[in-house]
Amino acid sequence: MQAAKIPMSESEPEPIGYPAVVRAATAGDHAAFEQLMRLHDHSLRLLARRMVGNSANDVLQDSYLKIFAKLPAFRPDEGSLRVWLHRVVYRSCLDELRRRRRTPDPVPADTIADAVADPTLTIDLADAMRNALERLSPERRTVVVLVAVLGFDYRDASEVLGVPEGTVASRMSSARRQLREALTNEFEE
């Protein structure tokens, strides 16, 4: 079985027509901007959902407005648009978490249950993974989403998070260790 990954619309180079859409969106075209955000919405929504839970829609609305306002200042030669979009959403999620002053909502069980309906996985493994993921700290959880789910490499993930690559690697390593230990404990009990 292979890993489920991000939609291919997220990869570089972008689909035909994408540069024109970006240019138009940057110039303030609402239609093109909506098209652009629809293209990236799945990935950004995954990130927001894992960071702020049920507040994701509100955070994304605010994030997309910020993106629209800041898009003309985006410099393609300074980095990937995909990374920049995720960085804006990530920072909005952080703002939301600070506003709440509490940890993010746990991932709803039904989300996980739907995802692991694969017959080759038993419910025990699904439960174990779900429980382990829910126990990750927000920092580790975010790195896991970016790297393991959305397919960012460490460099791009570090740009999204605004931390050194080594920190990303360290958090990912810690998260894997925590998940591995959790799974091991689960199956040894």
Binding site: A4, A31, F33, V149, R180
Partner: protein, 286 residues
């Protein structure tokens, strides 16, 4: 099943991705709400004086947007949600790029070169209101003259000339492949190499602007880079064959269609993941 007592990093990442690579699609009102908020966010700060005609226009424009958006939300509330599976309402697409003509939604595509317009009297079409905030800022729908194109079925493509000469509109869900059409789907495989073959069953969830989005339901051949439940765009091009998924002689899909897709991955230089280029799309049910 192998007990994952000490899964490798790769195994662990795969399990994580399988557990977490799902997200609810945006609710039906998400993008319409964003559209209205964008329109309302149009800066008017420089027009401080009501006496200024430009200031008055700006404020009236915002007021019109408020009314339009309020009307939209009332309609949305009355219609209720259906999980995002309804066909796209004319007016649910991209503003300015959407034309409503004979109760059908068309997506606009600017093309270079002249279009042979039929000599027949043009009919009227509408550029929907909430979607048309970009150009005029009037916050109301715009009536346009819709022309038939010589030799082209108007159920597939039409043209308007009121505001953007040679703009061709393609009915949502149609993918004209014959280069004889004023607009036909582009070659999607240029500058990339074939990567791998796929065969999967999928459900059409969105017709999009340039390509449909589908959710993969079952994989038959090669799951590399594709997961069950993945939402991916299909890069239909001139080589895609449609089976039972044609209308008026042109490839055609609607939201909710269940399809069997035979495709190849096409990886461009530097791309993290391949595009999915369908070589064949077979309609299973709709």
């Amino acid at each position: 099943m192998t007990t994952p007592a000490r899964p490798t990093d790769e195994e662990l990442d795969r399990l994580i991705a399988e557990a977490w690579d799902t997200a609810d699609p945006p609710p039906d009102d998400f993008f319409p709400t964003l559209r209205c908020r964008l329109a309302l966010a149009r800066p008017v700060g420089r027009h401080r004086r009501w006496q200024s005609s430009s200031a008055r226009s700006a404020v009236l424009g915002v007021a019109a947007v408020v009314v339009t958006c309020a009307a939209f939300f009332i309609i949305q509330t009355q219609q209720g949600g259906d999980g995002g599976n309804s066909p796209p309402r004319a007016g649910s697409g991209a503003c300015g790029l959407v034309l409503r003509y004979r109760d059908r939604a068309y997506f606009g595509e600017a093309i270079s070169g002249p279009v042979a317009i039929s000599a027949n009297k043009p009919e009227r079409g509408q550029i929907p209101a909430c979607e048309d905030q970009t150009g005029s800022g009037e916050g109301r729908s715009r009536s346009v003259r819709v022309y038939k194109i010589t030799g082209v079925d108007p159920r597939i493509e039409v043209a308007i000339t009121d505001h953007s000469p040679h703009a061709v509109y393609v009915q949502s869900g149609f993918y004209p492949q014959d280069p004889a059409f004023p607009f036909s789907v582009p070659n999607q495989s240029s500058h990339c190499v074939q990567h791998e073959n796929y065969r999967f069953r999928a459900r059409v969830v969105s017709l999009g602007y340039l390509y449909p989005f589908v959710v993969v339901e079952r994989l038959f051949v090669n799951a590399n880079g594709l997961g069950r439940g993945s939402r991916i765009p299909l890069f239909i091009d001139r080589d895609t064959r449609f089976h039972q998924a044609e209308r008026y002689g042109v490839g055609h899909l609607t939201v909710g269609d269940s399809i069997l897709v035979t495709a190849r991955g096409c990886r461009a230089s530097g791309a993290a993941q391949p595009r999915v280029l369908p070589s064949a799309i077979r309609l299973i049910s709709n």
